[in-house]
Symmetry: C2
Subunit: 302 residues, 2 copies
């Protein structure tokens, strides 16, 4: 057993168009965003697959943050998972223009000994089948965090519901929570998810922060007030990564630790969205994360 | 001069249909909701007009809260302002089925000596023309709070913008703030409103609480987590009323007082929406308001 955080999810290349800018073949995917965020708080490993077009410079970006890539498979027969998306005017909505599973098509997760012994696991956003198959390989996970999205709620409800019961903390955004719980009241949605088998629930609400539904109480972390939204892609993955990293780094899973993990998540996600990929986050690093954590801590103080 | 709060706005009869219930000819209108909320924090006066159908029992509801009705005109030739509305499934949207100005058609505000000397004024939601005409009658207002809605932003922009410059605190909800400021980022919207002439801005965001944009800093108050939404009508008016009442009651207008006023607003609004009209608020009163204030204070504590 080890105190590292194992991050499961996609490593991808994204082509993104926003109202103000565009970028091609930038490092994306839930595991990349989550692991880069987590790396500021705990030693982090990724389980994923990349293809024959994966760039050395992107390997270096991950290893520069001391992320352990021993469980990232290399598929020489196919390109890396690819996503092309466009944000509409004012970031009101986003459209997937192209998505290609590529290396993920027949991906069967395998874990080395180190990853098998991980105490802390973040099942970042990817199909519940891959999430479950990877979790099966971890021998004695102590705390499992599950992130998902509306696609899996509507297309893989049964697998997802089974997986939720195996996890310790479920992360969804506000519209996903309402969809999954079948109610439009966000507080009822959180409570319903607890009743239906989730042990602890975090509901992300973008510019309004995030809510924690925990057996010991209710908690709200406000969002860091950003004025320079550049690309919202990966905000949720970064939030989940920093939260999971904080918990693994603290080696504790109590109510107070989760609250502080959400603070870390809110600070980190606010930096992710200020650039494409994680460029701003990597550039500014822990000092700015800490400054934003302190700022957020004081926003609601009265 | 006196320390009373003068509440300007509508006194109305509402017929409301929600997904679960309906009610006919219940006391509504921005001034009713705001004054009932404010009455828990400061002596409150209303400037409004009612018609020939206004019930003694509703006068008693207001005077039971010691609300001064000397500036409520009685128009014997017309009925009270009337609104019929319907909330759709899950309270996702609401529709106005009928609206009749009635007594407000040719209403010219007049104020008695006491109201003319009010230090604190809440211009509750009604046309900017009536708001401005009433404010003109107050001799030396010390702190003026302005609440408005999307209708006036789109149909009376010039009057509204002129009025904003005469006020000390502007209250709008998140979509109104974005509409008024012409940006989809809520933080940018708040900052833009400050730049364009508002001295202080509060943006209400329903289940996500409210944000304060003040020259001394930024503040977020979370919403009280309610699970029994019965009728959202008047939530914003109650929030504004309690905030204004708190400020008048404290006799101070500094940053800390406004923060505490928002706490009072959040607690009070959460009670308003648990029943039609203000029945729950009037039933539970200050003890429950205080309990919810304490609860909200601790929600974000870390």
């Amino acid at each position: 057993m080890n105190d590292k955080l194992l991050v499961v999810g996609s490593v991808a290349y994204d082509c993104i168009e926003t109202p103000a800018d565009s970028a091609d073949f930038i490092l994306g995917g839930s595991a990349s965003y989550a692991a880069l965020a987590a790396s500021y708080f705990a030693p982090t490993m990724i389980s994923a697959v990349v293809g024959n077009d994966f760039k050395d410079s992107d390997i270096k970006r991950l290893t520069a943050r001391a992320i352990d890539l021993s469980d990232v498979r290399f598929d020489s027969s196919k390109p890396t998972f690819f996503w092309r998306g466009k944000y509409h005017k004012n970031f009101n909505s986003r459209e997937t223009l192209d998505v290609r599973l590529n290396a993920y098509e027949n991906f069967v997760p395998q874990l080395g000994k180190d990853a098998q012994g991980a105490k802390y696991v973040l099942l970042g956003n990817i199909s519940p089948e891959i999430q479950a198959a990877t979790l099966d390989l971890v021998k004695a996970p102590q705390y499992v965090i599950l992130d998902t999205m509306d696609l899996w709620i509507t297309t893989a409800a049964e697998s997802l519901n089974n997986l939720i019961k195996r996890c310790d903390l479920l992360i969804v955004n506000d519209s996903e929570a309402k969809l999954l719980a079948g109610t439009q009241n966000i507080i009822c949605a959180g409570n319903e998810l607890l009743k239906s088998g989730a042990k602890t629930v975090v509901i992300k609400a973008g510019e309004f922060g995030a809510m924690l539904f925990h057996c010991e109480g209710f908690f709200v972390v406000p969002a860091y007030p950003i004025t320079s939204l550049h690309d919202p892609t990966g905000a949720g993955d970064s939030f989940a990564g920093a939260l999971a990293g904080y918990i693994a780094g603290a080696g504790k899973v109590d109510f107070e630790t989760i609250k502080n993990g959400m603070l870390a998540g809110a600070a980190t996600a606010s930096m992710t969205v200020e650039s494409f990929s994680c460029y701003k986050l990597e550039q500014y690093g822990i000092d700015e994360i800490n400054r934003r954590r302190e700022f957020i801590k004081n926003i609601s103080k009265i």
